[in-house]
């Protein structure tokens, strides 16, 4: 079995060679006073069509259409290659027509969202294994409610056992909102522990106002805070991994629609040039 690094080097190498070939061909055609835009346009459309077909392949898991991993490899490297064909097609200049500008912008957005998606897939997956327990995304609200119920049980039992309301007060002021729903989405995404660190320090400092039994309660609350924060971390990363496609895929469909419109306009106004 090849290592993943070897595969990456091989595929990148092949892409670079293909890109150089495309540039050379474009140069030759330009020198020969031939129009490159028609060929690069059809090529680009075919490549984008193939890239969009990956989503279809994913939905047809029951057909022997090759492994999804092989499709993804093709998807990534052909997508990189489209950047070169796109440049050649536009003659390395931004277009000035409205439809063409929107089309170019859509292409750039799809390309950028794909690159971001690839980065997220490779980096967030690794980070998910570093904190908290492995949880199914759909089960996160259940676990969150479970932690919330446990916290409330701790606080209410404290109220019954002691005359002091210090822990309950702290819960109402500082913790209730935290346990109520998912928090710190963006902080977790950029791997910031600022909130967690601050809250735990605050809880530790608050210990000076508590008696022994309340401090024990606070220790249990600290465990719950950590568990909830880990759950938020899992939610933040898993949601990002799931939802980036909700940007990439609709943009792709929009790109296909505008590409069809562009094709129609180009064909209609080509004036019969072969």
């Amino acid at each position: 079995m090849n290592t993943l690094a070897a595969r990456r080097t091989r595929n990148l190498g092949m892409t670079v060679v293909a890109a150089l070939l495309i540039l050379w061909l474009s140069d030759v055609m330009t020198t020969a006073l031939q129009d490159t835009s028609r060929m690069s346009g059809w090529g680009l459309l075919a490549m984008i069509g193939f890239l969009a077909a990956y989503n279809l392949r994913k939905k047809l898991a029951l057909l022997p259409l090759g492994s999804s991993a092989s499709w993804l490899q093709l998807h990534i490297y052909i997508a990189l290659l489209t950047a070169v064909v796109f440049g050649v097609h536009l003659n390395w200049k931004m277009p000035n027509g409205l439809v063409e500008s929107i089309l170019a912008l859509l292409y750039l957005l799809v390309f950028a969202s794909g690159v971001v998606g690839l980065f997220l897939s490779r980096s967030l997956a690794k980070r998910l294994t570093t904190r908290g327990e492995e949880v199914l995304f759909e089960r996160i609200p259940v676990y969150r409610k479970r932690i919330q119920a446990e916290v409330e049980a701790i606080v209410f039992s404290g109220l019954e056992e002691s005359e002091s309301t210090a822990v309950a007060q702290f819960y109402a002021d500082r913790l209730r909102e935290f346990f109520l729903q998912t928090r710190n989405f963006w902080q977790h995404l950029v791997q910031s522990n600022r909130f967690r660190f601050g809250l735990l320090k605050e809880m530790q400092a608050y210990g000076r106002y508590l008696d022994e039994s309340e401090r024990a309660m606070m220790t249990r609350l600290v465990t719950c805070v950590e568990a909830k924060d880990d759950l938020d971390y899992q939610f933040s990363l898993q949601a990002t991994l799931k939802y980036w496609l909700f940007i990439h895929v609709p943009l792709t469909y929009a790109l296909l629609v505008f590409a069809a419109l562009h094709l129609l306009l180009v064909s209609a106004f080509s004036g019969g040039v072969s």
Binding site: M1, L60, A61, L63, S68, A125, L136
Partner: protein, 573 residues
């Protein structure tokens, strides 16, 4: 004084094979051969002949056509024909079709059938076609619950159409599979009303120990039928002539280490925690000792370990067909001084091993071998010694090897491993599984994680499938082609024996439904019909396991744990 609850110390026959065996039955058995001529004085202590017959045997009555064992079934017992006779199907091109044996022969779907799954998916979970349970005239079943038996409906046609041999009263069958923990080699059915004595393997082992005739008979049968075939198929002996093979067969010793019911014991041990000193794993050969011979694993699994500080570090594992001790013998032969064993070998659960004496290895292999091949530097790609497989797990983190062996995951031939560093939790694998199984995913993307590798709760299609042992109808079976462990939904009676035996929570019992969502119920008690379900490795689909094909990030693999090289390459990629 401290108080504690006490129970009677569990003993061997606390749970007899059959509670229906009476003293009168035992008295009758003692009057027939081979028990009548056994010397009772050789049965000393608690293990008496009477005790064995009472607790390790049961009487089985079969009607004409009743299938006793099927080729490929796994069982833990041998049979003695008491009265009547049975027929054993002889291997030939025309063998009994799977359907009449109660098995499902599921052909691969055509391209159109694959596409049709897109619109034929049921909206309700676990939908079944009731007609499929009612209308197959080829399958006959008798009895209820665990006594359910599949029978051949037209014995005379079967006898005229297929080549069979008779096993008469007084003869044994099924002993090789029972003692060797290997699949049954042939299908056996009752020709007429027949009474059989089924002896569980522990009882058979004790009878053999105390009766030279029986020992000799079973030993001869085993050596003739199973051992010779096994040695011929062992790569390092594959080039030997028939005379040399016969010498190997004559001098080889065959031993069973560990417990037959290792799955049950493992479940109990797992609750107790890690067994750091490996005291529950019987020692086959110990590090530092002189190698008495080459040990070949015939069935089961074995752990290789080296002493490390106050414990033992697992350095690898052996699966059937793999060899231990050969390198040390070769090193000793080349250096002219004996070399001690560099690691210990222990049975994981149960291991049946064949040992070939060192002297014979030297005579048949080393004396004739090219020295360069022995050193592993030979250029011949076909030389079995030059190309002897190495069990090298050094590139894998030792924690991970310990984890795989400790939890018996090395038993899997299609273990689902997920690299959590690459898995984006997209669940494409689960969706693909559901798509190919009428909207019912057959695994859970959950499971223990070690070194960021998850072993998911999916059927591993074990090398030693303990799930198959107690299935009363043989509904759970290994496919002849491909070797996948699959369940015939038609003959599954929902007894849960397989699910209870499975160590890996890979089998789920489900209540089946009509297309409209109502439960299918039995006609007497009106209780929902329950069926066992599990991963079938997409054996009816084009293209292989959908889960693996659907993973975009190369995170999921169905790993044959017998292939240490593949595992190592995947782990270190």
């Amino acid at each position: 004084m401290p108080t504690f609850e006490s129970i009677q110390r569990p003993e061997r026959w606390a749970v007899p094979f059959s509670p229906e065996m009476t003293d009168a039955d035992v008295d009758r058995l003692l009057t027939i051969e081979p028990f009548a001529s056994l010397d009772p004085t050789r049965f000393r202590g608690k293990v008496t002949l009477r005790g064995i017959l009472k607790n390790d045997t049961r009487l089985v009555r079969c009607q004409a056509g009743d299938i006793v064992v099927r080729q490929g079934d796994w069982g833990n017992s041998a049979f003695l024909v008491i009265s009547g006779n049975v027929r054993v199907e002889l291997g030939s091109a025309a063998s009994l079709p799977s359907e009449i044996l109660g098995r499902q022969s599921v052909p691969r779907k055509s391209l159109f059938q694959s596409i049709a799954q897109l619109w034929k998916k049921s909206s309700e979970p676990e939908v079944r076609d009731v007609a499929a349970y009612r209308d197959d005239p080829r399958i006959g079943t008798r009895g209820t619950g665990e006594q359910t038996r599949i029978y051949l409906q037209d014995v005379s046609t079967v006898l005229s159409k297929y080549k069979t041999a008779t096993i008469e009263a007084g003869q044994f069958f099924g002993e090789s599979a029972a003692l060797g923990r290997t699949p049954r080699q042939a299908t056996v059915f009752a020709e007429r009303s027949t009474q059989l004595l089924e002896i569980r393997w522990q009882g058979l082992r004790d009878l053999m120990r105390r009766d030279d005739g029986l020992q000799k008979h079973i030993d001869t049968v085993f050596r003739d039928r199973a051992l010779k075939w096994f040695l011929l198929n062992t790569p390092i002996f594959s080039h030997l002539g028939s005379e040399d093979i016969n010498e190997l067969v004559a001098q080889a010793t065959f031993e069973t280490h560990g417990q037959y019911d290792w799955a049950g014991s493992f479940k109990r041990l797992a609750k107790e925690g890690i067994d750091t000193d490996l005291q529950h794993e019987p020692l086959i050969a110990e590090e530092g000792n002189h190698p008495n011979g080459v040990v070949i694993v015939r069935s089961g699994l074995a752990r290789l370990s080296r002493r490390h500080e106050h414990g033992h570090r697992t350095t690898g594992y052996l699966t059937p067909g793999q060899i231990y001790g050969l390198d040390e013998i070769i090193d000793g032969w080349l250096g002219k001084t004996p070399k001690p064993l560099t690691s210990s070998l222990r049975a994981i659960g149960i291991a049946n091993v064949v040992t070939i004496p060192t002297r014979l290895i030297e005579k048949l292999l080393l004396e004739k071998a090219d020295r360069r091949n022995l050193l592993g530097r030979g250029s011949s790609p076909t030389d079995p010694l030059a190309n002897r497989p190495k069990i090298d797990t050094t590139r894998i983190n030792s924690d991970f090897v310990e984890f795989l062996v400790e939890n018996r995951y090395v038993n899997g031939t299609a273990t689902m491993l997920i690299d959590m560093d690459r898995c984006t939790r997209c669940d494409d694998c689960v969706r693909a599984c559901a798509d190919t199984h009428d909207n019912n995913p057959r695994f859970l993307r959950r499971g223990p994680i070690q070194n960021n590798i998850m072993v998911a709760h999916a059927c591993m299609h074990c090398e030693d499938p303990v799930c198959m042992i107690e299935c009363p109808t043989g509904a759970i079976h290994r496919q002849t082609e491909g070797g996948q462990v699959v369940i015939n939904d038609q003959t599954c009676i929902g007894c849960s024996a397989c699910a209870n035996n499975c160590l890996y929570n890979a089998i789920r019992m489900v209540e089946v439904r009509h297309q409209d969502g109502d439960f299918i119920r039995d006609d007497q008690k009106h209780a929902p019909i329950v069926k066992a379900t599990k991963c079938d490795l997409c054996s009816d689909q084009l293209g292989g396991p959908a889960c693996q094909r659907a993973c975009p990030h190369d995170a999921l693999i169905r790993m044959d744990m017998r292939d240490v090289k593949q595992l190592t390459d995947w782990y270190t990629r």
